[in-house]
């Protein structure tokens, strides 16, 4: 259950990211409106189909958007306001917020050994040198349950397995002792057994007091790991809810679709999978009004015209004309 404190660890308000790709293409919004709150020690999920802007939201939290992006919105971390993309926000990276990525293989610099990268990170973030640096590094590798850390620090990334690489990345992300870890699909690229282990590792870390923002398209995973989730669709955070089985909520039609799919998958092999018809619109050609309206089974007239305002509901909120009408 959510503990409401006066000061959430992270608060994101009305995040929008506009892209100016190059002089030959027009600009577009990849993220339109995202609101997020995260308490200390909380593990929350960010879920939605591919192309909904989840990763960008994660990157915006670190101020790591591509140079062609122009973010707007309010970011508050530990009670302090940050301008997204500002040098002050950059200071949070590694030290207070860590991040790991979907593809461990490409997230490690291929030309440096694991040891190089670990040593460098520890030196830059914590000023550690020499033996101390090495000891802390090995300690970190042990913490992410890597066997034979002495051997691993001499190896190049391409000599490690995918699971090992992801662990190294987690170790690197933890090097600065951050309070929040953003895990962007941390296990998607891995085989099932490895995936399990990484998830377990993350759960373990969360248990030790680390806040985690868990980004995934896999609702069943999110449901299992997170206490609370934010559902994103086409650049909007459409619903903030808990998937606690006890609280049967009237979800956003999109969330319902996702749930149906996830349930069907869990009940493996029960005939045809119920899928949501259609595709996520491209940010360059997003329909007006509620972006989900073309795929929505409960579409109302006003859905085409205007994006629905937030309906706060118990914990969390919801953007849907249909649900508003129901109220």
């Amino acid at each position: 259950m959510v503990i409401l404190s006066e000061q959430p660890l992270l608060k994101l308000n009305e995040l929008a990211v506009e892209f100016y790709p190059n002089r030959s293409q027009r600009s577009f919004y990849a993220v339109c409106q995202v609101n997020l709150e995260l308490e200390r020690g909380e593990v929350i999920g960010l879920v939605g189909e591919s192309g909904c802007g989840k990763s960008l939201t994660g990157r915006a939290l670190l101020g790591l958007l591509p140079p062609t992006a122009r973010p707007t919105g309010k970011l508050e971390f530990d009670g302090r306001q940050y301008l997204i993309g500002s040098p002050a926000q950059a200071q949070l990276r590694g030290r207070r917020i860590g991040m790991i990525f979907q593809e461990p293989t490409s997230a490690l610099n291929p030309v440096y050994t694991v040891g190089d990268q670990l040593r460098e990170t520890l030196y830059c973030l914590r000023g550690l040198k020499g033996e101390e640096n090495r000891a802390v590094g090995l300690q970190l590798l042990r913490r992410v349950e890597l066997p034979e850390p002495e051997k691993i620090i001499q190896q190049y990334p391409h000599q490690l397995s995918g699971g090992q690489q992801q662990r190294v990345l987690i170790a690197l992300a933890l090097a600065g002792e951050p309070e929040l870890l953003i895990a962007d699909e941390p296990a998607t690229a891995l085989d099932a057994p490895l995936r399990r282990k990484i998830i377990e590792l993350l759960e373990e870390l969360a248990g030790a007091g680390l806040s985690v923002l868990f980004i995934s398209h896999d609702l069943s995973l999110i449901r299992e790991v997170c206490e609370r989730s934010l559902v994103m669709y086409s650049g909007y955070s459409v619903e903030d809810c808990s998937f606690d089985s006890e609280a049967k909520l009237d979800h956003h039609p999109y969330t319902q679709g996702l749930l149906a799919t996830a349930d069907a998958l869990t009940a493996a092999g029960s005939g045809r999978l119920p899928v949501i018809e259609g595709e996520v619109p491209s940010p360059k050609s997003r329909p007006s009004g509620c972006p989900f309206s073309p795929r929505c089974g409960e579409k109302l007239d006003q859905c085409d015209r205007q994006f629905p305002p937030a309906v706060s509901r118990g914990p969390g909120f919801l953007h849907c004309w249909a649900r508003e009408a129901e109220k």
Binding site: P21, R23, S24, Q25, K284
Partner: protein
């Protein structure tokens, strides 16, 4: 998808002024080459020896007393000065008015009809040399316009042939793999082993120089395409190799679609974006290749004009000093190459931002 691209394209034209300017320049150049007979005041080979190295003619818009006049040019005659330089002086009181659509020398309009109508000219016996004249008094402007036919088309045709070759051979090489692939790879290496310009020279020298310009023209295209396909085929092979492993190809193969069909219908279309960009940026290579050959006297032969052989006059520094306007064809080459590069760059932005394609110029 294509509608989207078209919309992007129109937006691009509005946004990227340089691209728009480059495209406009190219369209203008190609149009003028196509309608060379109409636009140029004289034929490419029509000479007036008494006007050897006639300087560019200024066009007057005033009547000399401050009033406006219908544009006219003056007659010029030369005297050899002490240095045996031709000094052209306007003939006192001469005034030849410009004419629109006068009757000039006969030419063939688009290969359809014989006509004498030209865009502009000068009344009576006056001569207009917008860009000056060469040693035999031929109008450089007309020759540049006519020369554009060779220089501009050689790029298009040459690129089409090498693209076709590169697409097919690279596609086959990548798709079939094994021995065929190995053989084609070695072939490509042989071609790429010799510096292109040397290869061009050696190939050119293997055939008689006294061919007609038309034959030389086609021959140059063939040589350059022969050299040009290799690097393209190499890239295509790489793309095909990776595409071959993609699921949709796998699916097609499993459902029994024959190999060539898979290659042509499923694999090659996926290389189209790269191709359009590669084509645009390789065209300058062909234009430059032809120019270099003609510049050295191995390409298009007088009296036919190409921008390269027009520049032959500029090979001599002394001629440059006396008649700087002989450099003008070089400016046209420069403009064309620059425009193609700009267009290619912009096309890459919308079509294929992944690949950095370099044209690989021959010279």
């Amino acid at each position: 998808m294509y509608k989207q691209k078209l919309a992007d394209f129109i937006y691009l034209l509005k946004q990227n002024k340089l691209f728009a300017a480059a495209l406009f320049t190219l369209v203008l150049l190609y149009l003028s080459a196509i309608f060379a007979g109409f636009i140029s005041p004289y034929r490419y080979d029509s000479e007036d020896r008494t006007k050897s190295f006639h300087p560019p003619t200024p066009v007057y818009f005033t009547d000399g007393e401050g009033g406006l006049a219908w544009p006219y040019v003056k007659d010029y005659e030369f005297e050899f000065d002490d240095y045996h330089r031709r000094i052209y002086e306007p003939v006192e009181g001469s005034r030849n008015r410009l004419q629109l659509f006068p009757e000039g020398e006969k030419y063939n309009f688009l290969g359809l009809l014989e006509t004498r109508r030209r865009l502009f000219g000068v009344e009576d016996d006056g001569k207009i040399y917008l860009f000056g004249a060469d040693s035999r008094g031929r109008d450089l402007f007309s020759r540049i316009i006519y020369g554009g036919r060779v220089s501009l088309s050689i790029g298009l045709i040459g690129v089409s042939i090498s693209l076709l070759l590169g697409l097919l051979i690279g596609g086959i090489s990548g798709y079939l793999g094994g021995l065929v692939d190995n053989f084609i790879q070695r072939l490509i290496e042989v071609i790429m082993l010799v510096p292109a310009f040397f290869l061009l020279l050696a190939l050119r020298s293997a055939f008689p120089l006294d061919w007609t310009s038309v034959r030389v023209y086609f021959f140059i295209i063939i040589i350059m395409s022969f050299i040009g396909w290799a690097s393209l085929a190499r890239v295509i092979r790489g793309m095909v190799l990776s595409l071959r492993e993609k699921q949709f190809v796998e699916a097609a193969r499993v459902s029994g679609v024959p190999g060539p069909v898979i290659l042509i219908k499923h694999i090659l279309p996926n290389t189209a974006s790269y191709f359009i960009v590669a084509a645009t940026v390789s065209i300058p290579g062909y234009i430059l290749g032809e120019s270099a050959l003609s510049l050295l006297g191995l390409g298009i032969q007088d009296p036919h004009a190409s921008w390269g052989n027009l520049l032959q006059d500029a090979m001599s520094i002394s001629q440059l000093q006396l008649h700087p306007w002989v450099l003008l064809p070089g400016l046209f080459i420069f403009l064309t190459v620059m425009s193609f590069n700009l267009v290619g760059d912009a096309l890459r932005d919308i079509l294929d931002p992944e690949h950095e394609v370099s044209g690989g110029n021959l010279v």
